[in-house]
Symmetry: C2
Subunit: 444 residues, 2 copies
């Protein structure tokens, strides 16, 4: 179904001032506090896990909270649907991929409602269409435009636990969209923002955010509190624990988040606004982003606006650009411009750039496949020095060649060959002594 | 999504005069002829079969027809989803069952669109909500109220093959409904009626309608042409080849149907308006309906309107009543009233009847579980005599005890013990010599 008639002017999540007002005054907040709990696929892999998640929601309800659940597809069902699609069509239309993949979350919401019902409590499942979660029309990579709270409010006021299908949306004309792998986090955070939730809990198969991926760096340490900003950079730089867009929403609307395990009651990692003590630590985590390619435009005439028109064209092709690096030469008349992108987009990015090169008088286009990016991230970089030196030195000791380097206020990233990625990550974790308590961080 | 804005007054399929006018004058018919092809789950069990179905649709398109496909869930996926539901909740809410089960058809439409795309043709998949197929709100047993043709017409006029999810609908408030197992046939026939299709082809795993189920009566013979009326009675009496409601629609709107195999090009069975020659055959087929129970109300005061109020109450509980039999006694003052129902509804039917009995002064309620119904069906019964005698004699020779008997204009049915069902069916098939050419039918 489409959004209800009353959704003609739903509160837009793109209007932060209104949101802040609502949260600050509590004018539109419900009398009870509201919690959003998001369960990922690994937390719903079988009937027993669905029951476990249901019990957690019921416990929150019995504690006197209004509860909204956001669920992903069960276990590996999205991968199975993708395999089915690719067995039938090597290049499936994206609209039909969205039609296919959204069934995974629809199965989950129905089963979750049944599990809560089986435990003697009331629940109702809602698709994105029924709820009124409206996105743009970019299939497989849609972005949220508006969320209506009418239907959810109505169901909550009847005492029900509301279960929302993550990952999916509908566009203005009722077409079914998805927001990219992992975007159930985004659904949850955006809902938490619109509903003024006191917390958005992200249940997953790890018990929090670590200084590095603990599956590849066993010494990695769990972080208790992390700022939106650092979390955002870690996710963008490859930390798989949460979807970037979700953290953007959380930051924009100051949604208190908590990443925790669905299997234990251990406190997870709180994601929150930056506090003064956070700057004491130079590097809070290191990340590895794999399956990248670097596209380089060589001999770009260095005239004003040219880079802008290049990336406008790349964006029009819906190619996701990761980092951009530019160096000028020939007394500033020419530049080499590189950007990294997902391996999957590399071929299309190359085609777009070759076309641009012909049109704009650019000397050449080169693509470097099979590269990875290692990054060190921390708000403390603002006030600490020597971080870059420590990083380059660690990679040199590991005999790893650095290709591109890019830095921002709180991130330093190096492009390395794919085969060096894991080794680079482990050397950096050790070099920044991330396994030790954070006040012992050696740099600065 | 909900039906498009223009669907405020969609052509109702509950308004036959309008439909007849449209078909007769062709006023709203498209310039090309239109075909509806429905593929059942067994015809879509794997990628290869999906491609085979896609090729059949493409062939019709290349023949110059507008093509609308209606698809069921793949293979046994509906059963798998049901098993998942029952593993989580012994008595799942029907709304959530509909939410769960409709994902099966959504998977099919997406994959079918991909298969057609892979073959280089254009197609688009539509859920019931996107199309605007609106039902009442009786979850798991909804009935179609209106179908909008706007979206389908628009997609067809762009040269696309349109793929519709069978079995599902939405109610007026956008809730997802289903119309009962096998109801994709109903979706297909109703669409064929609304769209003025020249034919509605039902592709399945058998190559037509048989004189009896060929899996249990190997001598069964394929019927070339059958009237809507006989097909309707055969389906109602247990022939699994097509859903009853689908044939009702076909009859009401005179939709030419063809049941055929998805695996061969053999001509199947045409289902059509009765022709004069059809009456020459007394019995066209015999059927077996299993998993029934007979509920008997004993000593019912035989006053006007009582039976009506009894069945009104039963209908309010959404219990499907099969046959009704009543005998009066005590000089017409009292009656015994029996009806058959699905085993699954027996317990609820009994409870409803016990309540009624207490209220209406009915002496007793008895339930006979584990019974089956065998039926002989044919329009020729109107003009032939001795059919009932042949039937009772055949069952007597098989030493099968007959419990209830009911007859209508073109059907004779007997209730027998479950364990006698298959044997009864085989004896009847032989007694009516249904394995021989139809003009040799021995009776009358």
């Amino acid at each position: 179904m489409g959004p209800p008639a009353t959704a003609v002017t739903p509160p837009s999540i793109a209007s932060p001032p209104e949101m802040y007002v609502r949260r600050a005054t509590g004018m539109m907040m419900s009398p009870m506090s509201l919690i959003v709990q998001k369960f990922g696929g690994t937390s719903l892999a079988d009937a027993q896990k669905v029951h476990r998640a249901a019990r957690r929601a019921i416990r929150a309800k019995l504690d006197g909270q209004r509860v909204v659940l956001v669920v992903s597809a069960m276990g590996s069902s999205t991968d199975e649907l993708l395999a089915l699609a690719h067995a039938i069509c090597p290049d499936p239309p994206k609209r039909e991929l969205d039609m296919l993949l959204t069934t995974g979350e629809q199965v989950s919401i129905a089963l979750m409602a049944m599990a809560i019902h089986a435990a003697g409590h009331e629940a109702i499942s809602l698709t994105a269409g029924q709820l009124g979660l409206v996105t743009d029309s970019v299939h497989t990579r849609a972005r949220i435009k508006t969320i209506s709270r009418d239907r959810i409010d109505r169901e909550l006021s009847e005492g029900k636990i509301v279960i929302v299908a993550g990952f999916q949306g509908i566009d203005a004309s009722g077409e079914i969209t998805t927001m990219g792998r992992g975007a159930s986090d985004t659904s949850a955070t955006a809902l938490a923002a619109v509903l003024g939730a006191t917390v958005c809990e992200i249940y997953t198969d790890v018990d929090g955010v670590y200084t590095a991926d603990p599956r590849v760096v066993p010494q990695a340490r769990k972080i208790d509190r992390i700022s939106y900003e650092v979390m955002l950079e870690m996710a963008a730089a490859g930390a798989a624990v949460m979807h970037s867009q979700a953290i953007e929403f959380a930051k924009k609307f100051q949604v208190p988040m908590q990443v925790r395990s669905s299997m234990t009651d251990v406190e997870g990692t709180r994601i929150m606004a930056e506090t003064p003590d956070m700057e004491a630590v130079a590097v809070e985590g290191v990340t590895l982003k794999e399956d990248l390619a670097v596209v380089s435009l060589l001999g770009v005439p260095n005239t004003a606006g040219l880079a802008g028109s290049i990336f406008a064209e790349v964006a029009r092709s819906h190619i996701l650009v990761d980092d951009i690096v530019q160096n000028i030469y020939d007394d500033g008349r020419l530049a080499n411009l590189s950007f990294s992108t997902n391996s999957g987009d590399a071929r299309q990015a190359e085609a777009v750039c070759r076309e641009l090169a012909a049109k704009l008088g650019i000397a050449g286009v080169e693509v470097d496949h099979d590269v990875s990016k290692v990054s060190a991230i921390g708000v403390g970089m603002r006030s600490h020095t020597g971080i870059a030196a420590t990083m380059f030195d660690a990679l040199a000791r590991a005999a790893i060649n650095i290709e591109n380097i890019s830095t921002s206020e709180i991130v330093i990233s190096c492009i390395v060959r794919s085969e060096d990625g894991l080794k680079a990550l482990r050397y950096l974790h050790e070099a920044f002594q991330l396994d030790e308590a954070r006040d012992k961080n050696p740099v600065g």
